[in-house]
């Protein structure tokens, strides 16, 4: 595996870990609430136990939602969409990392002067639709609605500012990825690494509330 392939895998793994920990956090809360109702038995390591844990993790009472403010929520959603665009641009714009699935496989887009933006808009639309689709989940699944992701975590204002500050980082990552696309087949390892690190840092910051709570729950 090349360095870029490893980096791609690392981003995907990070997101997966974030998703897992989010469910785990919710499961943890539900277990505590169940203890209050006389239940709250520990998770069994078996298929039925894990299924039960997942159902605990995705079902969370609506009353536990904390409104974080529309400005922050809007910025957070923007940051996630930008992260998705940055991810798409860094790994799927040129054939360098994923030779079989990239923009340059589509001749009409690659040849068109506005192929980059078309690709980007596709990513944005896909991201927006995905977010809106999760919003359609019933109230019982509210904690896995992406629009309400941060509504189940306590965030200080500084933390919120940090999340919002990922936006300029992602802008730079996108800019670098576009530049790498224009110079292809030439490549710049340094720029690729910078774009990756910016994306990585942004994703870490975006999922930091989840990680923080799960660490606090553990320790």
């Amino acid at each position: 595996m090349t360095i870029m392939e490893i980096s791609l895998a690392s981003i995907v793994a990070l997101i997966a870990i974030g998703a897992f920990l989010h469910i785990w956090n919710m499961c943890h809360i539900n277990m505590e609430l169940e203890k209050d109702r006389g239940g709250g038995e520990k998770i069994e390591i078996s298929l039925s136990g894990i299924k039960k844990a997942i159902s605990r993790g995705v079902f969370i009472p609506r009353g536990l939602f904390i409104p974080q403010g529309s400005v922050f929520n809007g910025m957070a959603l923007s940051a996630w969409i930008l992260a998705f665009v940055a991810f798409g641009y860094l790994y799927f714009l040129t054939p360098l990392v994923v030779p079989d699935y990239n923009l340059f496989q589509i001749s009409s887009l690659a040849s068109w002067s506005f192929g980059f933006i078309t690709f980007g808009l596709f990513l944005v639309v896909f991201g927006v639709l995905f977010i809106l689709a999760t919003n359609k989940l019933p109230d019982g699944y509210c904690c896995i609605r992406l629009t309400e992701l941060y509504g189940y975590y306590f965030l200080s204002k500084m933390h919120k500012r940090a999340i919002a500050s990922t936006i300029p980082l992602l802008w730079i990552s996108i800019f670098i990825s576009v530049h790498l696309g224009t110079i292809y087949p030439l490549a710049s390892g340094v720029l690729s690494v910078i774009a990756y690190l910016l994306l990585l840092a942004s994703v870490i910051i975006l999922i930091s509330p989840i990680i923080k709570q799960s660490m606090e729950g553990v320790f």
Binding site: S70, V71, M75, A76, L77, S111, G151, I174, P185
Partner: protein
């Protein structure tokens, strides 16, 4: 009683033994006189002489008590007289393997023989002469088969059961029969006494289980000759009218007949037939018709397409192959391509987005000239055989070279970068090769760069700058619509 018999037997043996060694044989003069008399020299003292009376006693005793041996001795010593009035006519059947099929093809191997039973003693037996007769499909009467007569000698019969079988070696298959249907066999016998025409096996009853037939009936069918359709070929398929063309196919006839093979060439409503005789071989045999041997095409046939097929006849059956397609005759040349086509571009970097210029020169072969339409095709691995949409039509003249130039051509896409391109031209008049297009000509390798613009190019700015704003607006818009950040 048993003891007595035993003593008698031993004694008889001893007597015989002594007779053999010492005494002469009765009736013959072999150097010694009759039964040993007393006083004769015996070579030894004390041996007893066998008298005739004693021998008689022995004989009577053997007759009574050892009858088989007695008979043997009797046979040796006495031969009965035979009379000719007890002669029995031998029985003769046509013999055919009882396990063999009665339905055979003309090429199947067969054995036909004669089965004879002759109960006459050997002394009065006569040699039998056997003649095989057949009656084939279309024959009215029996006629002699193509088989040599067989002679059965008197001593060829089995000693015990007095029979014998003799195969007619000349009849090994029915390949000589030109037809199919029922074939009958019978045997005509002669022993020198009876007339041939009157003594045959027809009247004797059959024993099919043993393979004996008075008249043997076999059904013979023909294996028709066949052309292997998949072997049909014509080379070359696209030719000028006077070029060499070869029709090939493979023929098979299991009966190994010599077959008449006819090539039927169809053009429009006419049919040309070309026939040759083809001996067949154990496997398939090649059949070839060529324009070298037959004048199949004329100049008027130029530009036309033909079909063909074969027919095969072994004088019994005729079979047909399936229709083959070809050849397609090129038209007669109408134009001449002058020199080689050219391609050029202004920027030596050869980016895919550049404009290229392609040109080709042609002139007419006809004095009156004509209107020639030329199209340009480019070839890259991603876009193979891509036609430039704007063809050119110009008048071409005899001896005046007309140049067809395709300028400002942008035939390539981004995915063609870093590939070597090829190109050719097609036209609607045949060139000197009878073709309607040039072969592929190699261009050069296109520059591998994919994107035309730099990062700060206005066009590229319009690509990335919105991508910084639109996602931002997307998130804000979602929040404005759903208001998830506000109180629930």
């Amino acid at each position: 009683m048993k003891t007595l018999k035993l003593y008698t037997t031993v004694f008889a043996i001893l007597v015989c033994f002594s007779l053999v060694i010492a005494g002469p044989v009765y009736g013959q003069n072999r150097g010694y006189s009759g039964p040993i008399e007393n006083g004769g020299s015996s070579g030894g003292g004390g041996s007893k002489k066998l008298t005739s009376s004693a021998f008689l006693n022995y004989l009577e005793d053997w007759k009574e008590h050892q009858n088989p041996n007695y008979k043997k001795i009797q046979k040796l010593l006495n031969k009965e007289d035979y009379t000719t009035t007890a002669y029995k006519t031998p029985s003769v059947w046509v013999y055919y393997d009882p396990n063999g099929s009665k339905t055979v093809s003309r090429s199947d191997e067969i054995e036909i023989g004669a089965y004879i039973e002759n109960t006459n003693p050997i002394e009065i037996r006569r040699a039998l002469y056997l003649y095989l007769e057949e009656k084939g499909p279309g024959d009215k009467d029996f006629k002699p088969a193509k088989a040599e007569r067989q002679i059965i000698q008197v001593n060829e019969y089995d000693e015990k059961i007095n029979n014998t079988i003799r195969i007619f070696p000349d009849i090994s298959s029915f390949g000589y029969i030109k037809g199919e249907g029922e074939v009958l066999f019978r045997i005509v016998i002669s022993d020198g006494t009876k007339r041939i025409s009157k003594w045959n096996s027809s009247n004797i009853s059959d024993h099919p289980e043993l393979g004996y037939y008075g008249v043997l009936k076999l059904k013979v069918h023909n294996n028709p000759p066949k052309i292997n359709n998949s072997s049909m070929s014509i080379e070359p398929k696209l030719v000028k009218w006077d070029d060499y063309v070869e029709y090939r196919a493979q023929l098979k006839d299991e009966d190994r007949d010599t077959v008449n093979v006819t090539l039927h060439v169809y053009k429009n409503n006419t049919e040309l037939n070309f026939t040759k005789l083809a001996p067949t071989e154990p496997d398939e045999s090649d059949i070839v018709f060529s324009t070298e041997d037959y004048n199949i095409f004329v100049e008027a046939d130029s530009g036309k397409n033909f079909t063909y097929r074969y027919s095969c006849d072994d004088d019994i059956d005729t079979t047909w192959s399936e229709i083959g397609y070809g050849p397609n005759l090129k038209r007669t040349a109408e134009i001449t391509i002058v020199g080689k086509p050219k391609v050029s571009t202004t920027d030596p970097k050869n980016y895919w987005w550049q404009e290229y210029s392609f040109s080709i020169d042609a002139k007419s072969k006809n004095p009156e000239g004509g209107s020639l339409t030329v199209s340009l095709y480019t070839y890259t691995p991603e876009n193979y055989g891509k036609m430039w949409p704007e063809s050119q039509t110009k008048q071409v003249y005899n001896d005046n070279v007309t140049t067809f130039t395709f300028e400002d051509v942008k035939p390539f896409e981004a995915l063609d970068s870093n590939q070597t391109f090829y190109y050719n031209f097609t036209y609607d008049m045949a060139d000197e090769s009878g073709d309607y297009g040039t072969p592929l000509f190699e261009g050069w390798k296109i520059n591998p760069r994919l994107i035309k613009y730099g990062i700060i190019d206005p066009i590229m700015i319009l690509n990335w700058l919105p991508m910084l704003i639109v996602p931002l607006l997307g998130g804000i818009l979602i929040e404005r619509l759903l208001r998830k950040g506000d109180e629930v």
